[in-house]
Subunit: 330 residues, 2 copies
Amino acid sequence: MPELRKDPVIDRWVIIAQERAKRPIDHLPASIYDSKGFCPLCPGHEVKTAQPVYTDWIGSEDGSKKDWRLRVVLNKFPALVHDGDPSIQKDGLYEKMDGLGAHEVVIETPEHHYSMADYDDDQMKSVIIAYRERILELRKDSRFRYILIFKNYGIEAGASLSHPHSQIIALPIVPKRIIEEMKGAHSYNLKHHRCVYCEMIQQERLFQQRVVLENADFIAIEPFAARFPFETWILPKRHESHFEFINGSAVDRLTTLLRDVLWRIKQVLNDPPYNFMFHTSPQNDPGNLDYHWRLEITPKLTKVAGFEWGTGFFINPMAPEIAADLLNNY
Amino acid sequence: MPELRKDPVIDRWVIIAQERAKRPIDHLPASIYDSKGFCPLCPGHEVKTAQPVYTDWIGSEDGSKKDWRLRVVLNKFPALVHDGDPSIQKDGLYEKMDGLGAHEVVIETPEHHYSMADYDDDQMKSVIIAYRERILELRKDSRFRYILIFKNYGIEAGASLSHPHSQIIALPIVPKRIIEEMKGAHSYNLKHHRCVYCEMIQQERLFQQRVVLENADFIAIEPFAARFPFETWILPKRHESHFEFINGSAVDRLTTLLRDVLWRIKQVLNDPPYNFMFHTSPQNDPGNLDYHWRLEITPKLTKVAGFEWGTGFFINPMAPEIAADLLNNY
């Protein structure tokens, strides 16, 4: 059973998941990452994955379900598991709890060699809808306090398989970073009676120095205090606290904007490794006027070194204004 | 001029240092990292480095200064610079300031192919004394609010030159991570009337599950909530808020313990890349009973991926108890 442990000084939890060292990738040469023959996520190898929890079937004329466009399966080497006690145990000075949660893999496409930047609208929309549907399902379990969706693309960004996939983790606690952002947004609102992210969007649209792209519902910007070169945020232009409440034409507009942003990043930076992650309100919060969801995309171009780990302070060798200009004008 | 920018939601600053993209390493093949012929830090190439600010000379019988054991020079491609205005400028929603500070390189030894794990006592002691002397000097400039000492060892840990070196950065603000730790330690002290790190040391010595090594003045442990496999902390056993107050036999005991810990990490993990960084009280704090300085050593064995960036939440596949056992018994 994995274990959640809390740092006794700052409110940071870690998952000690000894089991994950047993992942086959840890004992095999790196070539498996790209080896189509061994890919457990490819069509025809469905038996190699754990239990599916969601499938987007490609409709056939006679109504039979034959091929899938996208599948979500349980992670075979989960960082957190479904059975466990959500209570906190004391161990002298320390606190820990069972590694309770969920860990799922979104197999985004049957095509092994695609990258998300190359998806057509149908494929990208299928991914966004799968994210929404899984959060809406997982949030029914009240033991889960936060559901995180993220993607590691490329070995350097932490991916262990090259087949296009993303991950969903449901956690029994709200992560430190989200708590900090919610607190910061709440303070701003108390003082200025406005959502700080709405204010940021307004200012960026006015200045036009860091806007990458926008459409009727979404905007992509390089944030003012970007930690990384080409760090890009996608935000809904109207205030919305929860990603999973997205519907109607907003799904289509997020689809096209995300495709366009990823395609530009791929072209300008020569298909770099990257991570993306959704920042959204905790799912058991009914909705709030402070915190505004967003998708953070961080290309992996520089190494994060001792300075960053030691301080939570980042050195970024690329001004976000220049990055926005390069992406916007491609 | 580099620029410091503050995130408008959380209290995180970044350095936008566009100049650093001009470092020669950015335009050269990676082979320069190991190429002795081109090493600007080697003896005989002193003209290639910027101004020296500290030198440990090897004494010669006739009293002349001929060879150096260690040199500290200004960084030729600094993330922060000495001239600048420490006042904060508003830019609508945002805050920024000049990239004021200092950025120095500690050339730890003339020997290009040594690693810190192989130093003899004289060499290691020379490094520790250089760290102390530079902090004692830099803290005289009251514009500097925090002085960080760190080391990146190996390309994967962010080093851009292989010649053994570490870095010193003086900052005009106290970094987020240190503020958080000081707040956490202060709350603990208010509640329990004791330093939380002193308490941690006592508990670790009692449990003997996560102790790597100890001597009369220092202890090395794997922390309970380790973020990374083989993350190791070295702490003074008696309460001390500031690293730079180290003196007398404590210097010798830190020397021997640090050498031994790095040597064991090298042996057990096959000379891994790693970062280390000192966590200490802000230098303009006269001394306090809450915060206890330490050296954090983090071998770079796993990739930090979207999950970690998205949450400030880490997945560690190696229980610290097992890591401590492996290091302790080597």
